[in-house]
Structures are given as structure tokens and as C-alpha cells.
């Protein structure tokens, strides 16, 4: 039963973040960047329920981005599934429940994600320059993603406790 509930959580969270990230948030006027909510959801799910859920949610969100966005098939699937698995694995090994540590891990994840995008773009011959990319794309996106991540993580933690879903983490401390 627990597995079904977890699967339900994935099936609800991922499409919802996709719709928010790709279709709703870009329409808000004066928003400098769109937070990477899918990445935030994959990380949250991985942290909360371990590597299996992390992998499954990574694959689902990656496929969603690949198949609908018209980009390169397999491109996002690869990085999202790797990150989801890695986060799940970390959460199984790590005892920390501190928010700052979570944010630091989010930062590491986002750096990995953007490095991947960067290197891949380099491989197929599109040359970005590093500093402008950091300033105009990465920083605004990171700040907004932190907010989105905390929101998603909080909501998931709240509902997991209500529905008696076993999670790897207990109460969250601020520092």
C-alpha cells in the first residue's frame, strides 16, 4: 500500500510542477527567471522516500521534458534520473535534517544540472560563455528554485506524515 501511495505522490507532484514551471509561471509578469520546479520536486522526492522513488520521479520528469519540449530525447531523462538516484542514495546514508544542508545539496544538484547542460551544449557545438550564463541564467534561477524547493519539500513532508508514509527524515530544523 505504501508503494501505491508513493507512486501516487510522484504522479501528482511531477505533472503539477511541470505545468507550473512550463506553462503557468512563465506567464507571470516581471518574473526574472522561472524556477526549476521539476528539479526541486525530484530532489525532494528523492530525499524523502529514497533512491527508488528518486529514480522513478527523475525518469518521469525527464521524459516529460524530453518528449513535450521538443528537445533531444534522453537529454533530461539522463540527468534527472541520475540526480534523483544520487539524492535518494544520499538521504539513505545521511542523517542531517537541517534546512541549510538541504539548500547546500540543492545548490550542488543545480550546479551538476547546469554543468551538464553546459557541457552538452559545448559538445554539440553551441558555445555559451561561462560568466554571462552564470549571471543571467544560473543565479536568478537558483534563488527562485530554493524557494520552490522549500515549498515543495514542506508540502510533501506534511502530506507524508498525514498519510503515514514512511519517510527517511524526521522533523526539519532551521539550523
Amino acid at each position: 500500500m505504501n508503494n501505491v501511495k508513493r507512486f501516487l505522490v510522484i504522479i501528482i507532484t511531477i505533472p503539477l510542477s511541470y505545468v507550473l514551471q512550463m506553462l503557468v509561471l512563465p506567464r507571470i509578469p516581471h518574473l526574472v527567471a522561472v524556477p526549476n520546479l521539476l528539479l526541486a520536486s525530484v530532489i525532494s522526492l528523492g530525499f524523502l522516500y529514497g533512491r527508488t522513488v528518486g529514480l522513478v520521479s527523475g525518469v518521469i520528469s525527464g521524459l516529460l521534458l524530453d518528449l513535450v519540449g521538443g528537445g533531444t530525447p534522453g537529454f533530461y531523462t539522463l540527468i534527472f534520473s541520475l540526480l534523483g538516484y544520487a539524492d535518494g542514495y544520499l538521504s539513505e546514508k545521511m542523517e542531517s535534517e537541517i534546512v541549510l544542508v538541504l539548500i547546500a545539496l540543492l545548490l550542488v544538484n543545480m550546479i551538476a544540472f547546469h554543468l551538464y547542460v553546459f557541457v552538452f551544449a559545448f559538445l554539440i557545438g553551441k558555445h555559451f560563455s561561462f560568466l554571462p550564463y552564470l549571471k543571467t541564467v544560473f543565479l536568478p534561477e537558483f534563488i527562485l528554485t530554493v524557494l520552490g524547493f522549500l515549498l515543495i519539500y514542506g508540502i510533501l513532508l506534511f502530506f507524508s506524515k498525514r498519510w503515514d508514509l514512511k519517510v527517511n527524515k524526521g522533523d526539519v530544523k532551521i539550523v
Partner: protein, 293 residues
């Protein structure tokens, strides 16, 4: 019943023996294979996206409508400070326009050439132009590649030109699905356009640069050093371009510097289209071969 039970038993076995690590390896290998396929056959490997597109696109359009309903209203209410900024901007534009009027006398002399251009314009208006909504881009905040809601069912073909409502060049249809198609913008790096000044005096090459795509700038190259871009800054697509129809507005030259070789000059061109917010585009239903000189 026995069959059902054995199937159930089989799945239980599979699930029991399913290792996360194995699953990870399978996923990674599959995506790597997909990536390599894409890398070596850029044109045809994208075709299996069609199936997913047919299912997801209608859903996406629905959500798009909801998004429009929620936020487009909100964006109509603009703050006073923004309105003031707009006034400033318009005053500046007004001054620029006055200057332009002064130049008009000179331009009148070139009337004959403009008449030729007009003929070309009319040729473009012979084509059917279809309006399409943008329903998704490739995940970045800038519209380098995006999906529109018309596909092969609606008569869209590959390499059709895409313009915006003001007639500025947006890009080319690069892939056509059943009920959607993907447009590659002119700011996508590596895309280059053969352009000329509005009166056809000079040809040059415009190339998309990834670094400056947020300001919608294109790189200008291969222009002869004698060409005066300050008085004649409007660039349109050239007659000799292989995919773009002639005389579509591309952008305005913002700066030029002579090259070290002393023969050519290069610089930057601001596109006529704002690539940070595309909602509706027009697809010109006619291709370069059909234009016929």
C-alpha cells in the same frame, strides 16, 4: 484464472528481483543510446517524439488557456511608474522619428528602388499566412526553439518561414509533427541568415549568438567596408537566401566596426522580434523554391 495467477506471480517475481541499481543502469544506457542516435542522425531520430506529442499537446493547450486566463489579465494592469517609463521611451522614440522624417526627403529620391521592393512585398502577401499559438519552449527562458499548435494536418511543412504579427522574422519550422511543429528561432546559435539593407545596396551574413540572445542580438559579418549602416540600418532577408523568403524584416543594425583586414566590417543587429515573450506567431505557407525569381 490460472493464467491470471501465473501472470500475477510473474510480476511479483519481477518486482522482487528488480534492483534499483539495475534500473538506474538501464535508464542511463537507454538515454545514452537515444542521445547518441540523436547525435549521429540529427534529422530522423526525433520522429518518435510524435507519439508523445499527439497525446500531450492537446492537454498542454488546455493548460495554456488557463494560464492565459489567469495572468494575461493581471499583466494588463501596469503600474504608473511603468507608464511613465513608457512615456519617456516614447518621447525618445518620437525624437528619433522626427529625425527620420528629415531623412525622408532623401529617401524619396530612391523611390524607384522602393517600388521594386514593394513588388517583392506583394509577392509575400500572395502566400497564405496562418496564425499559430506558441504552446511550449525547450526549457530555457528564451525562445530559441519552441512548439506551436499547428502541424502537418494543418498543412505546415518543414522550412516554412515564421514571422510575428509585425512582420519581423522569427525563424523556420524545423520539425513538423501531426498536430504541432517545432520552430527554430533565428537567435539559435549556428543559424545564419543572408540579409541585405532595405534598399538592396549591401549584403551581409547574420548569425545567432548564444551569449547575447537575451537582448535579441545577432552578429553581423561579411559586410563590405564602404556600406554606411548608420543611415540605412534596417536589414531584410536577402534574395539570395536559400530558405528565407526575400524582404522579410530581420532587425536593425546597432553597431558596426571595421575588421582588421580593412575590407569588411562586422557588428551587431537587434532583431525586430522580442524573443523573450512570444505568444502568437504567423507561419507563411510557402517556401523559397515556390517563390520563383
Amino acid at each position: 484464472m490460472i493464467v491470471l495467477d501465473s501472470i500475477k506471480e510473474f510480476f511479483k517475481k519481477v518486482i522482487r528481483h528488480l534492483n534499483v541499481k539495475v534500473a538506474l543502469v538501464v535508464v542511463v544506457v537507454l538515454s545514452l543510446v537515444a542521445l547518441f542516435l540523436q547525435y549521429f542522425h540529427r534529422e530522423d531520430s526525433i520522429s518518435f517524439v510524435s507519439v508523445a506529442g499527439a497525446v500531450v499537446i492537446p492537454f498542454q493547450e488546455g493548460v495554456n488557456e488557463i494560464g492565459k486566463f489567469l495572468f494575461d489579465r493581471e499583466s494588463e494592469r501596469k503600474s504608473i511608474s511603468e507608464a511613465n517609463a513608457k512615456i519617456d521611451e516614447l518621447t525618445k522614440e518620437n525624437q528619433a522619428l522626427k529625425r527620420e522624417i528629415d531623412e525622408l526627403g532623401e529617401i524619396r529620391r530612391e523611390n524607384a528602388e522602393y517600388r521594386k521592393l514593394l513588388k517583392a512585398r506583394e509577392r509575400l502577401s500572395e502566400y497564405e499566412v496562418r496564425s499559430a499559438s506558441v504552446i511550449g519552449n525547450d526549457g530555457v527562458n528564451i525562445f530559441r526553439r519552441f512548439t506551436v499548435n499547428l502541424g502537418s494536418v494543418d498543412g505546415i511543412e518543414k522550412d516554412m518561414n515564421v514571422i510575428n504579427a509585425d512582420g519581423g522574422l522569427v525563424g523556420l519550422v524545423s520539425y513538423v509533427g501531426l498536430n504541432y511543429s517545432i520552430v527554430t528561432s533565428i537567435i539559435e546559435s549556428g543559424v545564419s541568415i543572408s540579409a541585405m539593407t532595405k534598399n538592396g545596396n549591401a549584403n551581409c551574413i547574420l548569425t545567432g549568438t548564444p551569449t547575447s540572445s537575451e537582448q535579441s542580438l545577432l552578429k553581423l559579418e561579411n559586410a563590405l567596408v564602404g556600406v554606411d549602416f548608420t543611415n540605412d540600418s534596417t536589414l531584410v532577408t536577402s534574395n539570395i537566401s536559400d530558405k528565407y523568403l526575400p524582404n522579410i524584416l530581420v532587425g536593425y543594425v546597432t553597431e558596426v566596426t571595421p575588421n582588421a583586414d580593412g575590407l569588411t566590417q562586422s557588428g551587431y543587429v537587434k532583431t525586430a522580434v522580442d524573443f523573450t515573450s512570444l505568444k502568437e506567431v504567423l507561419i507563411v505557407c510557402g517556401k523559397k523554391e515556390a517563390a520563383g525569381e
